[in-house]
């Protein structure tokens, strides 16, 4: 019926023309008459008691209309609900104490941002500085400074999760590997920072917020509650275009409360566009983590079980949806491997650093860095090839759908097939031979592998894993689960088609994808379809899981769109059959029109049907609802609440990534040069390969940031050392390696089109594959990578300490004659 296919076509993005010519509509572009501007006063101390405020000088400055302080926040708002039982009181500003550098303590509103910043300097806050702690392990020492006296400890949450019989697995193991890892605190640094405009209408008592917020919209009711507003009195509107987010714009909800309160207090429309320094100091990042890992195996390489012990550093407060840093990948803790026995001890620790939250790959970059390093260490210990060890343990292709011991339901996959494809593309055996030659010549060439199960569409239910089963068993506890999305497709009176969604695209190209799907289902071309996806909580159909995060659009948004288009098609067929006086089963939708299956008689295109259905409702068959439109709400049946054994299908669809990377390390400078990088993805049905490729490039570069460059650093007093792009190093196009991409396709049985998300992609694998490749390169001198990012200065020191190579100069030449490589960290001459 829909053989005129637009699915899988490399349709160029309809968004690009406006974005590339400066005609996008971002938050800062919205016309806001009479808006005043906010400047936020932030704590210069990592840890300090706030004794008082003096705002008189600021208020006296011409152009200033108001100042809101932590005292106002404490009096007029509630603290945010946190996902744990610890009594952490997290308000939208500091109230009793400041707990990280950059924490908001007051807001000044003035006629322009310049004046607001001048006045912000005049706000006097009386601080009593306190000792700070920044290291998550140190923060748990008995004598460490305690951030939250009411909690009494810096441990915000602690869970021990046991699956299978890990003690027995370790008792029976022939080989046990133990290692400690550190993963850095990294962010996303979207080109567009946070932005919020708030307007309070005292007559209707409606607070309207415009924000480049990405969801999930569970944050809407949480924020309305903080402000004491009924949900239907807080209207949240997301502009058409968002300049990137990568998870980070989930965590802007405290600012929505703060700017909302400021508008309600001052009575003026308040606009706040976060600047880059604010963003680097105090927006959001992933956690820095210390991990202790253990792996039990047999001598033949069979993995029997693992133990994870994690210390995740969430900064000064645990902010929702943390501790997702520990539990978001719960269903795929075991990755692509078959082992059944696992113990996870997850500690969520508060220290005097900025706060954390979802960041592209949410906790999966951490997970696979540790796991894939452990698999390589096992291979090294057993003298096996890392490929052989992995193949020994992969989930078999005929095992899908596969239930993991932690409750994940891997919907489809061909892990061995994808892995083989990556090895073929990298010419793995040849690469090993070239490596042997290079080593013989004294060069440090290494080959890394990383495999990852790529989860998409979070099941909101995973968050409850933070609570222990006894708590969840209480009758007053309300279980949580779900992932849904709605779409409407409508035909206007002249036969034009519009699709409406409540998603919040940040560059993912939803308009393009939706136009392809609707065109595909209705026999149109994508150009014929107008797509509107500006989220508005007053007009769109939404629920707590709505939003564009956890790579969900590729699974759930596409499914809702296809279902809505099909529902509309069914209605059009029914109407057409009525007009043709034929039974419905004797007509069909073919080439954009209702036609008799017999091929005889009239046919009715969408335009024909619109011309009658809208203008002459009498022509509609009896019992049919007037109006040529359909709305579908798609949700996953496999999204269940966490069970009493802490098992949960934490995501809904699961793709796969297999990567091979070859690197050369310059032992004299510690520079890492990427010689070859192959990445193979299985995201089920691909709707638009161009968009998919863009996501893979972006994910890989983002992952490379965590592997080689990015690191939000603090000194022992909690001062942030990386608050500018001079010091927080984000890889640019110049640092990008050549990326060889291929796909295999195992369509999901759960989604309407068989597609899965893949927006996070290389952020999950690149830290692992780089660490494995560099460790392999330096294996001859026993230097292994257990910490990221790999800073050349630190790596050189380790090479030097390891006795290093002789310091004789060598002529560098590239590995693999066919490939041009880029001298990654060195500037071209």
């Amino acid at each position: 019926m829909t053989s005129e296919g637009w699915i899988g076509k490399p349709v160029t993005r309809v968004e690009d023309a406006r974005l590339l010519t400066g005609r996008g509509t971002y938050i800062d572009d919205l016309p806001m008459p009479h808006a005043h501007h906010a400047a936020i006063v932030r704590s210069p101390y990592a840890h300090a008691r706030i004794l008082g405020y003096d705002v008189r000088a600021a208020l006296a400055m011409p152009g200033v209309v108001g100042v809101v302080t932590g005292a106002d926040v404490a009096a007029k708002t509630k603290p945010f609900a946190v996902g744990v039982t610890s009594p952490v009181h997290y308000y939208c500003t500091a109230t009793d104490k400041a707990r990280f550098v950059g924490e908001p303590v007051a807001v000044v509103v003035a006629r322009d941002r310049y004046t607001a910043e001048d006045a912000a300097e005049l706000v006097q806050v009386d601080y009593e500085p306190l000792p700070a702690v920044v290291d998550p392990e140190r923060a748990l020492d008995a004598d460490a400074p305690v951030l939250h006296e009411k909690v009494g400890t810096n441990l915000a949450n602690h869970r021990r999760l046991v699956y299978g019989d890990p003690d027995r697995a370790f008792a029976e193991a022939e080989v046990v590997i133990r290692e400690r890892f550190r993963f850095p605190k990294i962010g996303s640094t979207p080109i567009e920072t946070y932005g919020i405009v708030a307007r309070w209408d005292p007559i209707d008592e409606v607070l309207t917020i415009w924000a480049n917020f990405m969801g999930p919209f569970i944050m809407h009711p949480l924020t309305a509650r903080v402000l004491g507003l009924p949900e239907n009195r807080m209207r949240l509107i997301v502009p058409q275009d968002i300049g990137g987010s990568f998870g980070i714009k989930t965590s802007m909800f405290p600012y929505i409360a703060l700017i909302g309160l400021t508008a309600m207090t001052t009575g003026v429309t308040v606009k706040w566009i976060e600047d880059r320094r604010e963003h680097l100091l105090a927006s959001s990042s992933g956690t820095d983590r210390v991990a202790y890992r253990e792996l039990a195996a047999k001598k033949d390489g069979t993995i029997l079980g693992m133990r994870f012990r994690w210390y995740d550093n969430v900064g000064g407060y645990i902010r929702s949806p943390e501790p997702g840093c520990s539990y978001r990948p719960l269903g795929n803790y075991v990755g692509p491997y078959r082992f059944q026995h696992l113990e996870v001890e997850a500690s969520t620790v508060m220290t005097n650093k900025s706060l954390t939250g979802p960041n592209r790959g949410y906790a999966c970059g951490h997970l696979y860095f540790e796991s894939e390093r452990m698999v390589d260490l096992l291979a090294e210990k057993l003298g096996m090839d890392p490929v052989a060890v992995r193949k020994k343990n992969l989930i078999a292709t005929d095992a899908f759908p596969y239930r993991t011991p932690t409750g994940g339901l891997y919907d489809s996959g061909d892990y061995a097939g994808a892995f083989d494809r990556a090895l073929e593309m990298a010419r793995y055996d040849e690469l090993r031979r070239e490596q042997a030659k290079a080593r013989a010549a004294g060069r440090y060439v290494g080959i890394g592998i990383a495999l990852a199960v790529d989860p998409s569409v979070s099941n909101m239910g995973y968050v409850a894993t933070a609570l222990d089963p006894q708590f969840r068993a209480k009758p007053e506890y309300l279980a949580k689960s779900g992932a849904m999305e709605a779409a409407t497709v409508k035909v206007d009176p002249l036969g034009r088609v519009t699709a409406i969604l409540g998603t919040t695209p940040q560059g993912q190209g939803h308009q393009t994808i939706v136009s392809q799907i609707v065109a595909h289902e209705l026999g149109l071309t994508p150009r014929d379809v107008t797509v509107v996806d500006e989220m508005d909580t007053f007009t769109r159909i939404w629920s707590i899981s709505s939003g564009t995060y956890s790579s969900r659009f590729g699974s759930v948004g596409t499914s809702a769109t296809a279902l809505a288009a099909r529902k509309l098609r069914t209605k059009l067929v029914e109407y057409g059959a009525h007009l043709m006086s034929l039974p419905v089963d004797e007509v069909e939708w073919r080439e954009g029109a209702v036609r008799a299956k017999s091929g005889k008689g009239a046919s009715y295109t969408i335009k024909d049907l619109a011309g009658r259905g809208h203008w002459n409702t009498e022509s509609l068959p009896e019992g049919i609802e007037a109006g040529l439109q359909a709305t579908a709400v798609f949700h996953f049946d496999v999204a269940k609440a966490v069970d009493e054994h802490d098992r949960v299908n934490s995501s809904n669809t699961y793709g796969f990534i297999a990567e091979v990377m070859a690197v050369e390390v310059d032992p004299r400078t510690g520079a890492v040069k990427i010689l070859r990088y192959v990445t193979v993805h299985d995201a089920g049905t691909i709707i638009n390969p161009l968009i998919v490729e863009g996501q893979i490039y972006g994910g890989a570069l983002h992952g490379l940031g965590g592997a080689l460059y990015e690191d939000m650093q603090y000194d022992a007093d909690g001062q942030c050392l990386t608050a500018t792009f001079m010091d927080y190093l984000v890889p640019t196009a110049c640092e990008a390696p050549t990326i060889d991409i291929a796909h295999v396709s195992s369509p999901s049985p759960l989604t309407t089109l068989g597609s899965k998300g893949l927006g996070e992609s290389g952020t999950m694998t690149v830290p692992a594959v780089v660490a494995n490749a560099v460790s392999d390169a330096l294996a001859p001198i026993g230097v292994r990578i257990n910490e990221l990012p790999i800073n050349p200065s630190a790596l050189w020191a380790r090479i030097h300490q390891a006795g290093g190579p002789d310091m004789a100069p060598r002529t560098p030449h590239s590995l693999g004659a066919s490939r041009e490589t880029r001298d990654a960290p060195r500037s071209a001459g």
């Binding site: 890889p731 100069p809 960290p825 001459g829």
Partner: protein, 289 residues
Amino acid sequence: MKPPKFDYHAPTTVDEAITLLSRYGDDAKLLAGGQSLMPLLNFRLARPAALIDLNRVEGLAGIREVDGQVRFGAMTRQRAIEFSPVVARRLPLLVEATKLVGHLPIRSRGTIGGSIAHADPAAEYPAVLAALDGEVVVRGPRGERVVKPADFFQTYLTTTLGRDEVLTEVRLPAMDGKAGWAFEEFSRRHGDFALVGIAAIVAGDGARCTMARLATAGAGPVPVRLRAAERILESQGLGDAAIEAAAARAAEIVEPDSDLHASAAYRKNLTRVLTERAVRRAVTRLGGR
């Protein structure tokens, strides 16, 4: 990130600029390409009472060849230097160094005078000025003076430029057409300030070295001429052993600091490695280009 209030002046002559500087005493900043000053203003790390914009001063930009020197008006953009035929012919080291300055948009605005007057220890131009032993021309109320690099750079971001003086010209001696040159630097990303950079010029024939000039960027508070290392090359020649000895000596001379990105020991190591690499590459260019 909005600057505090400041007065803005756009003089059209150097004398006018000097008058304004004198009027504001210590409290004015000259605006050239703005690639360092504007961020400092926006971060409120610099809070001058006035900005004196040199962009409309007549005759302050341009490249001339005079008496064996190439003279650069202080407001000459880095991008103009990158593509100047005169510079390509007479100062190929400067072309190579220019390509390492930031990124294209930075070079399109950034100026040679601004870079040298700002005196960032990791910048390329101060190292080239030191290696070529050029001079800067400075004009103030008491007239003009010509200053050698050793008398100009004092410490981080600090020069002997008086508060009422304007750097008007940079003079670099044309390189010997038979000399070899290289600018080697190591930075974590393309376009970043160098962790260490080495400018090298060598002249000679066969293994004999008649002249060596080596200078650093990023290996201490000011660019350093590596004279002891130069002397090793000049006395021992350009063979492998001499180059390695000179590089080892270079690492001993410098006194770098540790920061977020690199330890002092690593910077010393880079000084050695990059000196070696720069000299080797310079040697391959000996005898004309």
